[in-house]
């Protein structure tokens, strides 16, 4: 797995002091103290701020093994204002929206919505891990649906592999052929009839500011 920096360390490139380049703490002046409240407001209510750090989310999460910070840490870091670390993390992109944490959380925090909010914030600020495949996948999906109103799985995968890892496409070619032979993969673009109306709808939605409570 790619790791941005050793866990628990703060990378501080801008500091002239060499001892400051890698240290385990962050000073309050370096944090974005409003970040926690801003994210809580976007992710449906102030519940995020009432997290008791029990770790139920991390233990239920099927993907926490592969994350750079566990979901519990992400919640704590968000609340305390570690904005850059949170938005650059791979954790938020690895969340597959299985909602296991959301239904188990004893404080009823909408953790999956928190992850979605952080993903959108990372995109809005342009700080997401640029070469990480998942944001690229989401963007390609988004573009296809905007253009056609429906997703075409075969086209999505080809566009995705072209932008990430061409080698993978050849490795997957055998499965693609099998899917085509069984009639489960088609390169036909599935498009809706009233795409003009849908695009007008999406354009209007785009200009509306993000939902806040």
């Amino acid at each position: 797995m790619i790791s941005l920096f050793p866990l628990g360390f703060v990378e501080n490139k801008s500091s002239p002091d060499p001892r400051d380049k890698m240290r385990k703490i962050k000073y309050e002046s370096e944090l974005d103290l409003k970040f926690g409240e801003q994210m809580a407001a976007k992710a449906y209510g102030q519940k995020l701020l009432s997290c008791i750090q029990c770790g139920t989310c991390s233990s239920t999460c099927p993907l926490s093994d592969y994350m750079d910070y566990t979901p519990r840490k992400i919640i704590a870091m968000t609340r305390e204002g570690f904005r850059d670390e949170v938005l650059n993390s791979l954790t938020i992109w690895l969340c597959s929206s299985c909602y296991a944490c959301t239904v188990k959380c004893p404080r009823q925090i909408h953790i999956t919505d928190v992850m979605y909010t952080l993903k959108r914030e990372a995109i809005a600020r342009g700080v997401y891990p640029k070469r990480y495949p998942i944001p690229i996948f989401s963007r390609e999906f988004f573009n296809i649906v905007r253009k056609q109103g429906r997703n075409s799985e075969a086209i999505l995968l080809i566009k995705f592999y072209l932008k990430t890892n061409l080698f993978m496409m050849f490795k997957q070619a055998f499965m693609g052929l099998r899917l085509m032979r069984t009639g489960r993969f088609s390169f036909k673009r599935d498009k809706i009839e009233r795409i003009d109306k849908l695009q007008r709808l999406l354009k209007a939605a785009e200009s509306i500011e993000e939902v806040r409570t």
């Binding site: 592969y66 929206s97 979605y116 007008r200 999406l202």
Partner: protein, 301 residues
């Protein structure tokens, strides 16, 4: 019996084609009228919400509005949504629009640009819910022609059918599909991973994580002596079935277990022709399993 509107979603037109074919055949056999939603669009899935939330909700809401308008006779529209991801997105949109006035205001504003008006009357239903609670398992078991006695089935629900909004079954230990298997004469295997995530699109994006999640599910099902896995979600079916070769190669396993849609298994029990159920589209063919079941008595070769 009332008519159901049907929202296929993108997967049921490609990788999940067998799900559409088998579901429609089973409903036809059960004399339930199903009509496709006119000019439906993608629900947005998880990817769209990662980029723009208002757009994602508006996209899903358009389908709900179309359903309201398509049912002319004043009856409350019931929208059959077989894909778990679509089911979650549509129920979530509905729930958030009724709970958070801010969401509703913004989505309404977007919808009005396309001269659509949302009333929130559509009831989103999963076919599993309809079969168990509207049609009833008694009716289902009365119509069985080929009893599946002795067939050990692991029922895989996936994440997004019961978590977090569905009200027809338990969030932690759903049993609807298990009861359905019993109604068909089969034996539902006790399998605690039934709602554990299959990793969704991670099998394509981060295979080292995605494949491992699927490996866990498959290994546990085999260990519990399941002869097949049935699912109710096109992405779960695709992940569990199509990546078996890769999982075997990468992790030294030897797994060859058929993964079917629950509607396919129902069709088999109803004695419907395999071509109508999309059985030929499966990578791991279940025929040798089913041919050993004859007239309800397990025949050993």
């Amino acid at each position: 019996m009332k008519k159901y509107l049907y929202y296929p979603g993108c997967s049921l037109h490609s990788t999940g084609k067998a799900y559409e074919e088998s579901m429609l055949s089973v409903f036809r056999y059960l004399n339930v009228e199903v009509e496709e939603l006119k000019d439906w669009n993608c629900c947005g899935a998880t990817s769209y919400a990662s980029i723009d939330e208002v757009q994602a909700f508006s996209l899903a809401a358009r389908n709900l509005v179309i359903a309201e308008n398509q049912n002319g006779n004043g009856e409350l529209p019931e929208l059959l949504t077989p894909c778990n991801a679509c089911y979650l997105v549509l129920t979530k949109t509905q729930k958030y629009m009724s709970t958070y006035p801010h969401v509703k205001e913004k989505v309404d504003q977007a919808l009005s640009a396309a001269s659509l008006h949302y009333e929130g009357k559509t009831k989103v239903r999963h076919p599993l819910d309809v079969i168990a609670n509207d049609i009833g398992l008694k009716t289902v078991s009365d119509m069985v022609k080929k009893n599946l006695q002795g067939l050990r089935v692991a029922c895989y629900y996936g994440c997004q059918i019961v978590r977090p909004f569905a009200d027809f079954d338990d969030q932690h230990n759903p049993m609807t599909m298990d009861h359905l298997v019993s109604a068909l004469g089969g034996e539902a295997v006790d399998w605690p991973l039934k709602t554990r995530c299959c990793s969704g699109s991670l099998t394509g994006t981060i295979p080292e994580a995605g494949l491992r999640l699927n490996r866990r599910l498959l290994v546990e099902a085999v260990k519990r002596k399941a002869e097949m896995i049935i699912t109710c979600c096109p992405l779960c079916q695709f992940n569990l079935e199509c990546f078996q070769d890769k999982i075997n190669a990468n992790y030294g396993e030897n797994i060859h277990i058929p993964v079917m849609y629950f509607t396919q298994l129902m069709g088999v029990a109803f004695g419907l022709p395999e071509g109508d159920l999309g059985i030929q589209r499966l990578f791991v063919k279940p025929s040798w399993h089913l041919s050993s079941q004859k007239g309800g008595v397990k025949v050993h070769a």
